[in-house]
């Protein structure tokens, strides 16, 4: 399976995701944002970081970069797209995913391992997980407070487009287990065709027992499945 990781000035999780993909036997290429052609890819990853120093709004400038036109074309023809953290913010700025990510409700940059629940395992990104499985995954963001309009929220719920929700280690989903004020504890969403996933937690940081855990591995093995 061939993957491309798009690199923007200010991306800082691009190497981490490359290591994760290569560990899982993806044939990965790094693609600089000024490129106008994408290598043939089954998966395109928009990595975490602070593209363009979060100028204007997180992801706003990256969302207008040259390579993004190609990413949009690929997405519309069914290519799998994964946006992690800043990548999720970029996906909302391009319009590939609806809604937006507001500043964390408590105004703090949050860097900690949190629990998330798998809400839909019937997707290319999550088929190796069990439904309602609880994962411990790191978050590290200042703008992760997902917001969207009521009609879209309705669609997310009805179509099973909410991939992950924040919870505690027992799986309780409520205000106390919501780290950033995100609507309905949403941690990750899919588009209607389910070929695009945007998520704030970092699965690429959870692939090795020595430095964390392996809860992120099944996201990548799902893609290979």
């Amino acid at each position: 399976m061939k993957s491309s990781v798009i690199v923007f000035p200010g991306s800082n999780c691009d190497r981490d995701i490359a290591v994760a993909l290569e560990k899982m036997q993806f044939k990965n290429q790094m693609v600089w944002h000024k490129e106008t052609k994408l290598p043939k890819s089954d998966l395109i990853v928009l990595p975490g970081g602070f593209s363009y120093g979060d100028y204007l709004r997180s992801g706003a400038i990256a969302g207008k970069s040259l390579i993004i036109d190609e990413v949009i074309k690929a997405a519309n023809s069914g290519c799998l797209i994964l946006g992690i953290c800043n990548g999720f913010q970029i996906l909302t700025e391009t319009g590939l995913l609806k809604g937006t990510l507001l500043r964390n409700k408590n105004l703090k940059f949050i860097n900690k391992d949190v629990h998330i629940k798998v809400l839909n395992n019937n997707t290319k990104f999550s088929n190796k997980y069990k439904n309602n499985q609880i994962l411990k995954i790191n978050i590290a963001h200042n703008e992760g407070n997902y917001f969207t309009d009521p009609n879209h929220l309705d669609e997310l719920n009805k179509e099973g487009l909410i991939a992950f929700k924040y919870c505690d280690e027992k799986g309780n989903i409520n205000n106390d287990t919501n780290p950033n004020g995100s609507l309905e504890n949403i941690a990750g969403i899919l588009n209607l065709k389910k070929n695009i996933l945007g998520m704030m937690p970092h699965p690429e940081r959870m692939i090795d027992e020595i430095i964390s855990n392996k809860d992120g591995i099944n996201l990548f093995s799902s893609l290979l499945n």
Binding site: T100, L102, R103, K105, L107, T148
Partner: protein
Amino acid sequence: MKFSVTVTLKKNILDPQGKVVENTLINMGMNSIKSIRQGKYFLIEVDENDQSIAEKKVDEICKKLLVNLIIEDYKINKF
């Protein structure tokens, strides 16, 4: 031709930064404050002599990049 653009969060969107500024000012003893909303300000110079065409261009700039229409409102003023 110069224009100013003010971008603010929509009324129903929580503005935590504005809220912190508001609370701080109240803590400083400025009790007459009702509320504070924080926003962004842009000064844009357009190479165009026709005002209505220039305004349209600024409006396009706002919609395409400066403003996230899901959460923000904007106001264009001739400078």
